[in-house]
């Protein structure tokens, strides 16, 4: 089976700092793939490179058989990769619905059809009742959900989620996990997520990649990864659980 | 529209905005008018003051407002663009417009029936300037062989520059233009321009300027220690009060070839006296005289028409024939296009803090002096 997304020796340097250091991995179509690692490990930077927000200095990023390294963010999105931001960025003055409509219009010409689609997604993410509110008035967890809805509205094949569980309480985390599972099952969308909430990672991910200081130190099933001594040492710490 | 009582004249001038200085100067001509008109037996005018704010739109709106408020005659507006905007209102409403100052020839080339201009066009100003220059050269027995032509790059300056290139060959002038230097009307500093002119080492400077740049050029001449044989200006700036006030002794000497008043005419002397009384320290100049004369034309026509009806008034203006006016030339009479063809330039020289007229002979009250006294030896 060929991978939907495949990274080979991707690196990124910020002045003196090697934020991402020759990272390689494959994400299979339909997978739920998680990236974990301590703060500043380079996870968001990795996402930014896949999503076209920054250009990799080195290495190849191949999506659905085509190289996408260095494409602009919008071009990447049009090819089927949608992302959320770690520091959420909804369109503040627009209503929730219009926020999602913007995403839905990417592959739909008519505003009417886009609105239909947007409402569908808002329902799925429990935001339907708030659809007329301005996005600026939402709480942080709601904003994160809104970002997921907007990203989904672009009909992606690959969804990049940067810490969307942060700030959700355990029950809400479970609901988000369930939503993503259902989406993954119903639409076949591949999900690549960054997460610190291990509860969600364990419940959701089929595969986990661990980054530390820009280097991939482990990759495998969640169960295998949390037992890896290097991961326990650098990320989970002795005291966890 | 015809009513009894004094004729309502709407005067539109740029009294604020970037032309505020000149607009407010013109307004002085309005202020001294009623008493003088009365003294020469002309009927009283009811004057409505308007400010165009130096903008074409405001000029047009204010003109329309005045007409709707009952103005039976309009006077204005110093600036050609604003005057043209007002002209359209005048024409559409059948209200005569008497142009006080505005040199763009187009104004009287549009076939307007209600627009009259008692001011020379750019072409007329130039032709007279060349004629008067020759008269001055003959009087002093000297003439420059080379000049540098410096002009401000605004409406008037550009029109004059174009005219010079067209007309000069016809007049067989003794000098040759070495260099033409156009400068920005908003210039803050003309040191480069003067340096450039000085580098060509001409006998004289030929200039078309405004007040601000006239002062800047003079200062630079002093600082760069260069006194040409003569400065010959063909427009405003060099004869204005501010120029004298600011530069003192350094203001003496430049020649201006421009529309002016005839100091020998009685009305001009009357105006001078009235102005001196109302505004001590202000010398009579073109702005006052021509703005006053526009009102004179209106009052004169009103007297002859005997009615405030604008149509009749326009007819009366058309048949104007005033000989006892104040400006240089044969008086005021309009041709079929509404242009006064009798109006003439004068040549003025700055002398002891005041411009005197040195040409044409019939209007002069002094002899020209040549060359310019070196700036360095004046203090």
């Amino acid at each position: 089976m060929t991978a939907l997304l495949s990274l080979t020796a991707v690196s990124k340097r910020f002045r003196g700092l090697l934020a991402v250091d020759r990272v390689s991995f494959d994400v299979a179509e339909g997978a739920l793939f998680a990236v974990i690692g301590p703060n500043g490990a380079g996870k968001t930077t990795l996402f930014n490179m896949i999503a076209g927000a920054t250009t990799p200095d080195d290495g190849a990023i191949v999506f659905a058989g085509e190289p996408i390294g260095g494409l602009s963010a919008d071009a990447v999105c049009r090819r089927g990769i949608a992302r959320t931001f770690q520091l959420v960025r909804p369109f503040p003055a627009l209503s929730l619905e219009d926020n999602v409509v913007v995403g839905a219009l990417l592959h739909r010409r008519g505003v009417g059809a886009a609105r239909e689609h947007a409402r569908d997604l808002l329902r799925r993410l429990d935001l339907f009742d708030k659809r007329h509110q301005r996005a600026a008035t939402l709480t942080l967890p709601d904003r994160k959900r809104l970002e997921v809805a907007r990203a989904l509205a672009t009909d992606p094949r690959l969804l990049l989620l940067d810490e969307v569980m942060a700030g959700l309480r355990p029950t809400e985390t479970d609901r988000m996990v369930a939503t993503l599972r259902t989406l993954n099952r119903d639409t076949g969308v591949t999900v690549l997520l960054i997460e610190h909430v291990m509860r969600a990672v364990m419940a959701l991910a089929s595969r986990v990649l661990v980054l530390d200081h820009g280097v991939a130190i482990a990759e495998g099933t969640p169960q295998a990864v949390v037992r890896d001594p290097a991961v326990v040492q650098s990320y989970l710490g002795a005291e966890t659980m | 529209r015809a009513q009894s009582g004094p004729l309502k004249v709407g005067v539109l001038l740029p009294r604020s905005g970037f032309e505020a200085g000149i607009g407010q100067d013109c307004q002085r001509g309005v202020a001294i008018a009623p008493a003088i008109l009365k003294s020469i037996g002309l009927p009283e005018l009811a004057i409505m003051d308007g400010d165009t704010e130096s903008s074409v739109e405001t000029a047009r709106a204010r003109a329309a407002k005045m007409v709707s408020d009952g103005a039976q005659c309009l006077v204005g507006a110093f600036d050609s663009g604003q005057t043209l905007a007002i002209a359209q209102v005048a024409e559409q409403n059948g209200v005569p417009l008497i142009v006080n100052i505005a040199a763009a020839p187009q104004l009287t080339e549009q076939g307007y029936k209600f627009v009259f201009r008692n001011f020379p066009t750019a072409g007329m100003i130039l032709s007279d300037a060349f004629t008067d220059q020759k008269e001055v050269f003959a009087a002093v027995g000297q003439s420059p062989k080379t000049v540098v032509f410096m002009h401000v790059n605004d409406t008037f300056g550009t029109a004059m520059a174009k005219g010079i290139n067209l007309l000069m060959p016809k007049f067989d002038m003794p000098y040759k233009i070495l260099d033409e230097i156009a400068y920005d009307p908003a210039a803050r500093d003309l040191s480069v321009e003067v340096t450039k002119a000085k580098a060509s080492n001409p006998d004289a400077l030929l200039v078309v300027s405004r007040l601000n740049d006239a002062m800047l050029i003079t200062r630079e001449l002093v600082k760069q220690r260069w006194t040409p044989q003569a400065i010959m200006s063909m427009g405003p700036g060099w004869y204005e009060d501010e120029y004298f006030k600011t530069l003192g002794k350094l203001a003496d000497g430049p020649l201006s070839f421009a529309p002016w008043f005839d100091p020998n005419k009685k009305l001009a002397q009357q105006l001078e006296a009235a102005l001196a009384k109302a505004y001590p320290g202000v010398n009579l100049n073109t702005n006052h005289v021509y703005t006053f004369e526009a009102l004179l034309v209106a009052a004169d026509a009103y007297k002859r028409a005997g009615t405030t009806d604008p149509k009749a008034l326009a007819e009366a203006i058309r048949s104007t024939n005033i000989t006892d006016n104040a400006s240089i030339g044969g008086g005021i009479a309009f041709d079929a296009k509404g242009q006064n063809t009798k109006v003439k330039d004068g040549a003025m020289q700055n002398r002891n803090g005041k411009p005197v007229v040195v040409a044409p002979k019939e209007a002069s009250n002094a002899q020209p002096e040549w060359p310019l006294k070196p700036y360095q030896s004046r203090t």
Partner: protein, 234 residues
Amino acid sequence: MLAVENLDVFYGDVQALDGVSLEIAEGAIVAIVGANGAGKTTLIRALAGMQRRLRGRISFRGVDIAGWPSHRVCNLGIGQVAEGRQVFPTLSVEENLDIGAMLPRARADRAKNRDRAFALFPRLAERAGQPAGTLSGGEQQMLAIARCLMGAPQLIMFDEPSLGLAPAIARGVLDTIGALNREGITCVVVEQNVALSLKLASRAYVLENGRITLTGSGAELLADDRVRSAYLGL
């Protein structure tokens, strides 16, 4: 020392704090626990005078300081180590510390306080001339604390002091809080590491959706089932 009664805070139409009441005793360490967006930062900002659209009473040693601007509040001796460190990136470490001592109450003791800060964090003394923006995250956090100490505060509010720090450094910061408390400084701590902050705290409040839902000593909350399941993931 500090008592809050019925505090309401609004962001535009959104209510972020709803009738919050709490008390901070002289010399205590008080932990405030809550999910993201619960209003912890808002509470601290309100107490510090940085969020002035509020209703309710905040009394500090008997003076109602609700609605006071931050520079007056600070000058009472209420210091803050804010979320995200908030150092001045282009200023040197030393200049950052100087700014901390600009409060009228602290001007006279500038030199003394600086020596104390450098004694507490020798790393900063080594880097006194370096622009703060080039410090590592942990060093920036030290600087934020040191800068706060320059203002000679009697009460310090820490907002997520270990956020973004490697576990070892995070623990060091929490130890520092304990040490400062022993010197007599009252502390309020908001910390993502709930377990540690509860262990440290003599009193703790749980904030949910802008309301206080639970209160008790640190140990009590640490043993509470709701807290264990919601915040400790147990």
